[in-house]
């Protein structure tokens, strides 16, 4: 059941109205839990046992850590929880990838064992709920939060349907306290939630789904197109994945808000970033902060010297790429971003950084423009590896663009060009730190009605109803 379907609207309407009528707070939470499991079961019924099992495991680990005095025992429980979570992820998501690479490695040494290939079944959302669940056990271990004493609340934290399938990755420290007392959305929160849901629907159904066929066409056979077409494809995909994923996040955050819960922001106009470090503070914020707090910092962060900092950055981004999918293309994508982060750190450490970063510097406007352009080039170029079906296809595409290939078919997609123009205009005129879902409900009536009506009109006129599933569902 995807957010842009009629059945979800009916489901959500039922959940909201039934929940409003439940008197007991405990019963309300049970209802939300059952509704969340029912939501997940529409994807694959048996896999709900996986979520329940994973949740029970981490709940138990948290309780055991809470009662254990011996720090070694606490660490053991943490290691057990992390290993089980990552083991589950490795089994379902990466076993064929590992098997294929081990086979390739053995082949290099002249060994030819029979190729192992498992019939893989990837439970929807596994990358998200395992990471989310790990935030609990790790934060309990670090004594940032107390172990949850209520199994129902913990189960609901992991399975809460707005964020279950594709995030945002909500931390236990952010969500569990919200279950302590009964919540109802205020009228302004309700309005903000509806605005977010509408905005997300426009991003997904009007922008992303309209350009998807053209992007798919170009990436399906990049060798047949000229450089101009390939650049359109890359820019189109950059827009598509942004609108698809941020649209999903908006709808998820909006649903939660309507139900009275607050989720963290997941996107803050990342394509307005002036450098790659800023980009990762604005793109998939919950994942990047997860990687920072639970991988980069435990590896040592920037506290172990310059070289080690760069190594930690690269490692974090390589694993971040691997998280997205079991393919070398994703690892390379992560590596490109890691390299960009390292280069940015080097740049910031250099003397030239001061000449251009000072506001009164005459070079500042030009430097800003160049910085934006360089960041966008790196990010969009990296998307080639993220989207291409194979590494050779990605390499071919990149080389064709870099060598300005003239031969081949030329496709000019008005959809892609319009999407670039539209998203570009929004990035130019809207503040990149604006949180309109919080500020708009406080504005005057006219100032609210106009943007809402524009969004609804765009949806009514240009939405694609039979669109593709959300891209991040495959992760």
């Amino acid at each position: 059941m995807i957010f842009t379907s009629f059945e979800f609207l009916i489901f959500f309407g039922l959940v909201w109205s039934i929940r409003s009528r439940i008197r007991s707070f405990g019963a309300e939470k049970w209802f939300l839990l059952v509704a969340s499991y029912a939501f997940y079961m529409t994807w694959n019924a048996p896999c709900v046992l996986l979520i329940i099992g994973s949740s029970l495991m981490d709940y138990t680990a948290g309780r055991l850590m809470g009662s254990a005095r011996n720090p070694h025992r606490r660490r053991l429980f943490l290691i057990g929880s992390v290993c089980l979570n990552l083991g589950m992820l490795a089994y379902f998501k990466y076993r064929n990838f590992f098997a294929d690479n081990i086979w390739t490695g053995l082949s290099l040494f002249g060994l030819r064992p029979p190729p192992l290939h498992f019939r893989v079944f990837l439970p929807v959302g596994i990358s998200f709920f395992t990471f989310q669940s790990m935030t609990y056990t790790i934060d309990v271990y670090r004594r940032k939060i107390e172990p949850c004493r209520n199994l129902r609340d913990f189960l609901l934290f992991v399975a809460f349907f707005p964020q279950l399938i594709a995030g945002p990755i909500v931390r236990a420290a952010e969500f569990l306290p919200q279950l302590a007392a009964r919540r109802r959305a205020t009228w302004k929160e309700l309005e903000g939630g509806l605005y977010l849901f509408l905005l997300g629907a426009v991003k997904k159904m009007v922008i992303s789904d309209q350009i998807a066929p053209q992007v798919d066409l170009i990436f399906a056979d990049p060798g047949r197109f000229d450089a101009f077409t390939l650049v359109q494809g890359v820019l189109g995909y950059s827009i598509q994945i942004y609108c698809d994923f941020s649209g999903y996040s908006d709808m998820a955050i909006g649903c939660a808000r309507i139900l009275g819960f607050h989720f963290p922001e997941n996107f803050m106009m990342p394509y307005a970033s002036r450098n790659i470090t800023e980009f990762w503070r604005r793109w998939h914020i919950t994942l990047s902060s997860w990687l920072r707090d639970y991988l980069y910092i435990p590896l040592g962060g920037n506290r172990k010297g310059v070289t080690r900092t760069y190594v930690n950055l690269m490692l974090t981004m390589l694993l971040g790429g691997l998280w997205h999918g079991a393919s070398w293309n994703f690892i390379i994508w992560g590596g490109v971003h890691g390299l960009g982060l390292v280069v940015h750190k080097l740049w910031c450490a250099g003397p030239w950084h001061g000449w251009t970063s000072r506001r009164r510097s005459p070079l500042a406007p030009l430097a800003n423009l160049c910085a934006h352009a360089a960041t966008l080039t790196l990010v969009c170029g990296a998307w080639i590896f993220f989207r291409a079906q194979t590494f050779p296809a990605a390499r071919q595409m990149l080389m064709s663009i870099l060598t300005l290939k003239h031969s081949g078919d030329r496709v000019t997609s008005p959809f892609i060009l319009a999407a670039i123009a539209g998203v570009g205009l929004v990035h130019v005129f809207q503040s990149k730190d604006a949180k309109l879902h919080e500020t708009l409900p406080d504005a005057g009536l006219f100032a609210r009605i106009v943007p809402y009506a524009v969004l609804l009109t765009l949806l009514a006129l240009f939405a694609v109803v039979d669109g593709a599933p959300f891209i991040y569902f495959q992760f």
Binding site: K188, L217, I449, L459
Partner: protein, 337 residues
């Protein structure tokens, strides 16, 4: 809900919320309605067209999608055959929708059903299906054809979309809106100003002189990608349309002569859907030919003279050149039997 009082407007937050919500809905609704009217969106699911003299010896019921509207000169067919034809035109129609027309044509003594590989492809849905096909019948057809869960969801979700269209007529018709806006822009450029009705109505069948063979590769690929996306990449011939065609042929043969005209689609379209789909289409048709031996199957899609992108103004519709060839051939075949 905890009401709070607004400081700025004096209206409570609750009242503001409802004012904003309702005003937004009304504005969105108004924009959709006005756009649909301005672009001339078809709101009638099935339009009857009469050709020939009313008192002709043969009173034929004919049904087709826009492929039949553009692909055959019905006036000429009626004149040259001496038949009286009432044709029901259904945008993107298929046998599922044609059944509604057949139910109305109770005094027909002959039936002409115009189909094609595009019309019978289960991956494409007419936006008027829900207006003409009861939900129960769709359920039954999906069950009997053992349709997949994904396809069934797609087919059934058309109904709430249709109900939404009653207030937002442009909902789910983004391609129609975009094509309409482009036509308006082209007509404006041609006429040099607004409200030139003769120019704005330039999508009459006799005006379609564009040829797919004149398209550049980019335009061809773009259109192919858009068409394929509207079917979500699935092309098969064993679903509700197949069930409906069987029922239509069953009823038609009890009334009298049955003619099934199979119109061609462009070679570019065939390349898009692939050989597997073409084979499945042929298998499906062969089954009907075998089960309904008294029906006359006029395979215009096998006519060599039509198998050329130059006879089509888009991937599936015949242009004026193709229509002339198809009409002549159909007249000969009708006269021969």
């Amino acid at each position: 809900m905890r009401p709070t009082h607004s400081v700025t407007s004096g209206l409570s937050a609750r009242r503001q919320f409802w004012i904003v919500l309702l005003t937004t809905a009304v504005l969105g609704l108004g924009a959709s309605q006005l756009t649909a009217r301005w672009l001339g969106f078809q709101t009638i699911a099935m339009t009857p067209y009469d050709y020939g003299a009313g008192a002709a010896p043969v009173r034929a019921f004919a049904a087709s999608s826009s492929l039949g509207y553009y692909g055959l000169d019905w006036g000429a067919i009626a004149t040259n055959t001496g038949w009286s034809i009432r044709r029901y035109d259904i945008p993107a129609g298929s046998p599922c929708e044609m059944e509604a027309g057949q139910e109305l044509a109770t005094n027909a003594t002959a039936s002409i059903l115009v189909v094609s590989a595009f019309d019978l492809d289960e991956g494409f849905f007419s936006e008027f299906r829900c207006a003409l096909v009861p939900l129960g019948r769709t359920f039954q057809d999906l069950r009997e054809s053992q349709a997949s869960w994904a396809f069934s969801k797609r087919a059934l979700s058309r109904y709430p979309e249709y109900w939404l269209k009653q207030v937002f007529p442009t909902a789910g018709s983004s391609m129609g809106v975009l094509v309409g806006l482009r036509s308006k822009a082209q007509a404006w450029r041609r006429s040099g100003g607004p409200s030139d009705k003769a120019v704005l109505n330039g999508s009459q069948a006799q005006e379609k002189t564009e040829r797919v063979c004149d398209w550049d590769q980019g335009k061809l690929l773009r259109n192919a990608a858009t068409l394929n996306a509207s079917a979500q990449g699935t092309h098969f011939y064993s679903g509700p349309k197949h069930q409906s065609l069987r029922r239509i042929l069953d009823r038609a043969r009890m009334r009298g002569r049955v003619v099934v005209v199979v119109l061609p689609v462009s070679p570019a379209y065939h390349r898009l859907v692939g050989d597997k789909s073409a084979t499945e289409f042929e298998t499906s048709l062969a089954g009907f030919e075998r089960d309904f031996p008294t029906a006359q199957f006029v395979r215009l899609d096998r006519l060599k003279g039509l198998s050329d992108d130059c006879n089509f103004w888009d991937l599936v519709h015949l242009n004026v050149y193709g229509r002339a060839i198809a009409t002549r051939e159909l007249e000969q075949r009708l006269a021969a039997r």
